[in-house]
């Protein structure tokens, strides 16, 4: 274990219990993520990825086991979640949405203004700041969601398939924007995706999960030098090997869960 661990999870198990039935969503998950690392979590659907993220986001509790997010600078929130585009609040303007986390922390208004306009510009929405979300496209809403999380300046960022609802073109553009903001801030990121390409493009490390009950069964280090682009993912020999690895694994897990 490295000494600059940012997120550490020990033997985390989560069971959803209802009358007469229980589902083990997570089964003894243990993992460590270092400061500044970009980790992608990949697994068949229903394997517990969202559950894991929601626990780290403080929206769900563990059944047994624990996790720790290492504190950093004073006054900095531990984590912020990049919600899917429908998590943009419709009765707040673009600007108010981006400022949401900062306002909830009651920071001085000049600081809020400064940070909000900085990230609005980063995601190219400076001219849309006074609009309501209903006037935005899906890609623009997703940018609002990203800007809101980065503006909050948390220790770690949590993302649950943020680009799943976007079309291919928008997805590429947003992936690049995300990488460029990330490279500037070097935040620790835990990112869920079902797209192998996306995982290979974004991550330093990929964790593969089993089908239900969710366990982490394999980890792949992704050493492709940055900055990266999608052509490299296709042409780089090593990366192509990883792609096949992950693809086979997912096939197996999906087969298993069907039986």
């Amino acid at each position: 274990m490295e000494n600059n661990t940012k997120i550490s999870i020990q033997d985390m198990t989560k069971v959803f219990y209802k009358k007469n039935s229980s589902v083990t969503a997570l089964d003894h998950i243990s993992l460590n993520i270092s400061e500044g690392e970009f980790v992608c979590l990949v697994g068949p659907s229903g394997c517990g990825k969202t559950t894991l993220l929601r626990i780290l986001a403080g929206l769900e509790t563990t059944s047994v086991g624990e996790y720790k997010i290492t504190e950093g600078k004073e006054n900095r929130p531990l984590q912020s979640m990049v919600f899917q585009e429908r998590g943009v609040i419709p009765w707040l303007t673009v600007e108010e949405n981006v400022a949401f986390g900062l306002k909830m922390r009651h920071l001085p208004s000049e600081l809020i203004k400064e940070r909000t306009s900085y990230y609005l510009e980063k995601v190219g929405l400076e001219n849309f700041s006074t609009l309501y979300p209903k006037e935005l496209s899906g890609g623009m809403k997703q940018r609002v969601s990203i800007a809101r999380a980065f503006a909050n300046d948390p220790e770690i960022l949590l993302m649950d398939e943020p680009f799943a609802a976007l079309d291919e073109q928008n997805k590429f553009i947003l992936q690049e924007e995300l990488l460029s903001i990330w490279e500037e801030t070097k935040k620790t990121v835990l990112f869920i995706t079902h797209s192998i390409d996306e995982a290979l493009l974004l991550s330093d490390r990929i964790l593969l999960m089993s089908s239900q009950p969710g366990r982490i069964i394999k980890e792949i280090k992704n050493d492709l030098p940055r900055p990266r682009n999608i052509e490299q993912i296709r042409s780089d020999h090593n990366t192509a090997g990883h792609f096949v690895d992950i693809w086979k694994h997912l096939q197996e897990e999906v087969q298993k869960s069907r039986k």
Partner: protein, 273 residues
């Protein structure tokens, strides 16, 4: 297809411009219809009553009602009744809406409160507030305040029920966002629960406004010495039907005016939708 146009006009912008003008015209036609319908009704009434197809003793022609309105307005007595009724409606409306919104928000947000209060609301709601008027008069006297309370009692229920439903139906992802970004209870109340519930809440307030007008007339008929309802009732008893119709038309006018005002307010504060 547009065969005839193809021979006449080959400029696509002009063709679409023509189409656009036609659509505008249609829109204006619809607006005209909306304005025309009450006028049509009044003209029909005038005609039927003048030609004695309708008994003019029971349905005096609108032109005579208008002149009655003028003479009543001149004597000043009419404005007294209008002022008193408007005061009761507005005060009763506010006295019903404000607690309705606050209690509705609390019921929506905190399920123990909801489970405790909703049986009480459900049990009281079916009782017409007017049926409670004798008790209200015993408690609050025959004065203005008993009318205000009667209206408030009728307005409260649709508002509290819609506000609760409005909060409960807020998409849970916004609750997650607020929680994840560390919203305090107060911020949650102001930034999420209230605006999120507002669309459904406003429907309840619209309903409350309509009920307030229904209630005022009946309440003033039963126990009052002034107001539009009193005017209607005493005119009826004295067989002064023109005066009675002045009262009825005033109620109809204010009902229409209030719902227009509320609709405009709604469009303004819900512009994000």
């Amino acid at each position: 297809m547009r065969d005839d146009k193809m021979t006449k006009n080959h400029n696509p912008v002009e063709v679409e411009q023509q189409e656009w003008k036609k659509r505008q015209l249609k829109e204006r036609m619809k607006q005209m219809l909306t304005i025309a319908s009450p006028i049509f009704l009044l003209l029909l009434w005038e005609f039927l009553s003048q030609t004695n197809l309708l008994d003019a003793r029971f349905f005096p022609p609108p032109s005579e009602i208008v002149s009655t309105f003028y003479s009543m307005a001149m004597s000043g007595e009419l404005f007294n009744h209008i002022g008193i009724s408007l005061y009761r409606i507005i005060a009763g409306f506010l006295l019903g809406v404000i607690p309705g919104v606050v209690i509705g928000l609390l019921m929506g947000l905190y399920s123990p409160i909801r489970h405790f209060i909703s049986p009480i609301v459900m049990a009281l709601m079916p009782i017409p507030t007017l049926a409670l008027l004798p008790i209200i008069i015993i408690l609050f006297g025959i004065g203005d305040f008993s009318k205000v309370v009667t209206i408030a009692g009728s307005v409260f229920f649709p508002v509290v029920i819609n506000t609760t439903a409005g909060v409960i139906n807020i998409d849970s992802i916004y609750l997650d966002v607020a929680k994840n970004y560390g919203a305090s209870s107060k911020d949650f109340f102001v930034k999420i629960a209230f605006p999120g519930a507002l669309p459904v809440m406003m429907e309840g307030i619209q309903m409350g406004q309509a009920i307030a007008l229904l209630t005022i007339v009946a309440a003033e008929m039963m126990g009052a010495t002034s107001g539009i309802g009193y005017l209607i009732w005493t005119s009826y008893k004295a067989f002064m039907l023109k005066e009675m119709f002045v009262g009825l038309i005033l109620i109809s006018f204010f009902g229409y005016l209030f719902s227009l005002l509320l609709r405009a307010l709604q469009n303004k504060i819900l512009s994000w939708r």
